[in-house]
């Protein structure tokens, strides 16, 4: 009898645990970020389908099981893109163990005409070998930017052009739900702190 009860309790307990796992991260309520913005009620970037430098098609579901931090830029950007990538590399170093393994940096180019897969790959991996980049046709990139509400525009510069663009980084949980946005003015430590908050709950 006691054995049965115990077993029941265990089974019930497992059920509750299982439900918890199925639900993924607890609701938005529990997410109290110190620096970044809670984005749990926003829907961004659900439908993108782009290619990594190796030619594999990647969607948000490709990153299930990890916590992707997605941001946009172009390799000819001398200022904010390398700064954001360097910050991402520092964030990764600040995370420990499982948290570090979960963290996946994804750089989406806004300049698919000039950023070839080779350049993109070498560029992001110069910051951290685990980083990945995504590209597509100009039309696909345009659609993805619109999906993320990312502003970008080509600015003529002599006989060529440069690009003005949004600089926010977006973090998803392991189930592909948008959770957090990190502005460019936050430093690596502040970002890492918010990421740990998210990782503790998810």
């Amino acid at each position: 009898m006691t054995d049965l009860l115990t077993r029941r309790a265990v089974v019930a307990g497992m059920g509750v645990l299982g439900l918890g796992l199925l639900a993924g991260c607890s609701p938005a309520r529990g997410l109290d970020f110190k620096y970044g913005k809670n984005m749990s009620n926003e829907i961004l970037g659900r439908k993108f389908s782009l290619k990594d430098p190796q030619g594999n098609v990647r969607t948000l579901s490709s990153f299930y099981g990890s916590m992707p931090m997605i941001f946009f830029g172009f390799t000819q950007c001398p200022a904010i893109c390398p700064t954001t990538l360097a910050r991402a590399a520092q964030i990764r170093k600040l995370l420990r163990g499982r948290d570090r393994d979960l963290f996946q940096v994804v750089f989406i180019t806004l300049d698919p005409e000039r950023d070839t897969p080779e350049v993109l790959d070498a560029y992001v991996k110069a910051f951290d070998p685990t980083f990945t980049a995504l590209t597509g046709t100009p039309e696909e990139i345009d659609a993805v930017a619109r999906e993320f509400k990312v502003f970008y525009e080509k600015v003529p510069a002599g006989d060529t052009y440069t690009i003005s663009h949004s600089s926010t980084s977006y973090v998803y949980d392991t189930r592909g739900t948008l959770r957090l946005s990190l502005g460019h003015s936050l430093n690596a430590k502040e970002c890492a702190e918010d990421l740990v908050t998210l990782m503790e709950i998810c």
Binding site: T75, Q76, C77, P78, A79, I80, P82, T83, L85, A86, R87, A89, R114, T116, E118, V119, A122, Y123, A126, F127, F151, V155, P156, A157, G158, D159, T160, T162, I163, S164, H165, S166, S167, T168, G183, H184, S185, L186, N187, A188, E190
Partner: protein
């Protein structure tokens, strides 16, 4: 015969202008270029300029790039804005910094990869308010792609 002293005087003036770069009014410090990856077409150059007299930086040239421009980055909320500048004002005695957080030199159409540890020659043309043009040669060291603004200082955290 009476022309001779004048000619000498002119010659002396000419020699002075050639031989006295110390009179040159612009000093450049901490010049560096961000390393590129293979086939990357452009990168940035950064430095601090101080002019003795009110001047402006009107052009930059380098053998490593086909086009060199000065760009200004501005943040408007979350959007990073980029635009080309025709000139950079250099007020007398004021250090003007070109760094990854604002003004910078763009080396566009790179002739090859710019590698860490190399030196990149830059020729700056500075025009004083009085219309005197000065050329400053700079050897900028190439720092890693991942280099931050300034050395070892966290410039990413801006006060707000």
């Amino acid at each position: 015969m009476s022309m001779q002293p004048v000619k000498h005087g002119l010659a002396a003036l000419f020699l002075m202008s050639l031989g006295l770069p110390a009179l040159a009014q612009t000093t450049v410090s901490d010049a560096w270029v961000r390393a590129s990856v293979p086939h990357q077409q452009s990168t940035g150059a950064f430095m601090t300029l101080t002019a003795d007299a009110d001047s402006k930086l009107v052009s930059v040239a380098s053998p490593v790039a086909k086009t060199v421009q000065v760009h200004e980055m501005t943040m408007n909320g979350d959007v990073m804005g980029m635009r080309e500048l025709n000139a950079v004002e250099l007020p007398a005695g004021k250090a003007v910094t070109l760094d990854p957080n604002g003004l910078h030199v763009m080396l566009m159409g790179l002739n090859g990869q710019v590698k860490e540890g190399e030196k990149v020659p830059l020729t700056l043309t500075v025009e004083s308010a009085k219309g005197v043009t000065e050329t400053v040669e700079v050897q900028a060291e190439v720092r890693p792609l991942t280099a931050e603004a300034g050395s070892g200082h966290d410039h990413m955290h801006m006060s707000h």
